[in-house]
Symmetry: C2
Subunit: 231 residues, 2 copies
DNA sequence: GTCTATATGTTGATAGAC
DNA sequence: GTCTATCAACATATAGAC
């Protein structure tokens, strides 16, 4: 068996490795230019394979894209749920702090950032690529996560309606997606501070840990804010 | 002169009107599927013209897209600045309330929503289409707006660094873009409330005025929140 | 299981008739 | 100024060789 495999590996490339090279290339290219903006050719060329190989392994361009998204997002959501589990177990039924909830939600994403993967952009594509491509995948990957985190929010803010919590949770997701999409890099350009100190200040404030800290504070406060009437 | 124009209008379609039909069609289609996902043919077909006409009037697909974005966004930014002018004049040098600042920023956008235009999605594309297509346009259209609104924020929150304000302003933009991109429609699906009352509650909370009110409250509170150390 | 060759369609842009 | 006809380049997918 081992030798049969070796013989095959001599004649053909390892299937598993080819698939991963395809996923890596797809991740990089599709993250940058989206589904419609990236040709299957470009992906397979970057992966050092052929179009037929991609279609053989994944069936179609769409399926390759979905596999690319799922590969990165599934483990992040797993870690989100693990963190939430740990928090709830430690709290023993008591409501969690909003800050803790959102650290559990955002932390796994920011942890990946250091790993230099295009995971951020990939995840952001979930929200900008055509719905028919990603909506079922989104429900699949996020169904339980959203339910569990909304439950935690409902316990932390028992006087809010579930609709209101859902709406504001979407605001929080918006903050996250926007930062993941790389729009932070625009920020320094737009805010012409004193040029000399600007770069240093930018590096400091835009460091991952700092951004996460600010985002958690921003979102938690935003959720706590009363609806505010006509003013 | 008038008869010459009439004679031309008889032989050929009115140039101005053709351009607007092209812009309308481009707005609708490009908003839904993005630049790469929309063929020039699809746009011209929807506009009842030909590919050559579009290239004649706009030079290229890229230029048509930029013109489409600019047509909608420029007047919104004009109204934003007018609102801010009015607020600052009324305040006579005193710092503005954060809520007022963001009503000035978000109001013109939500006002357009009622007009049933694809303006939201179009604006959202600014943040998901390839940078080389939109980044110079973004600077052109938003340069002054961002500067003026950041100045107002800096006066309202004088103890914050400009970098921090810029970062959090991006969070606010993220909320806005995410809602514009239509992600609110996902919300009801994800939050399985009591099925019967869910629809009514959703309509209520997701009405434009309600969303705007919640968003302003969310963002203002988020900006006021202190950075929050290690927790 | 993987690749070569190819089928079949669509893309954006333009040259030239009217 | 606008349209018809046409372009080369590119798209995805597949049939069949190895």
């Amino acid at each position: 068996m081992a030798e049969a495999q070796l013989a095959r590996a001599g004649r053909h490339r390892d299937s598993r490795e080819t698939q991963e090279r395809l996923l890596d290339a797809a991740e990089r290219l599709l993250a940058e230019r989206g589904f419609a903006g990236t040709s299957l050719r470009a992906v397979t060329q970057a992966a050092g394979t052929s179009v037929s190989a991609a279609n053989y392994h994944f069936g179609s361009k769409e399926e390759l894209w979905r596999a690319t998204l799922a590969r990165r997002i599934a483990p992040i959501n797993r870690r989100r749920l693990e963190s939430l589990d740990a928090l709830e177990q430690a709290a023993g039924g008591a409501p969690l702090a909003l800050e803790a909830i959102f650290e559990a939600y955002l932390g796994p994403l920011f942890a990946e950032r250091a790993a230099r993967h295009a995971v951020h952009f990939v995840a952001a594509r979930l929200y900008s690529d055509p719905p028919e491509l990603v909506s079922t995948l989104k429900l699949e990957l996020f169904g339980e996560v959203i339910r569990r985190f909304l439950d935690a929010l409902a316990r932390a803010l028992p006087d809010r309606s579930r609709m209101e919590l859902g709406l504001r949770f979407q605001f929080a997701v918006g903050c996250m997606v926007h930062v993941m999409s790389g729009n932070l890099e625009d920020a320094p350009l737009l805010m012409e501070s004193v040029p000399e100190s600007a770069a240093a200040a930018a590096d400091d404030v835009l460091a991952d840990a700092s951004v996460l800290r600010h985002m958690v504070a921003f979102i938690a406060a935003g959720l706590r804010a009363p609806a505010g009437d006509a003013r």
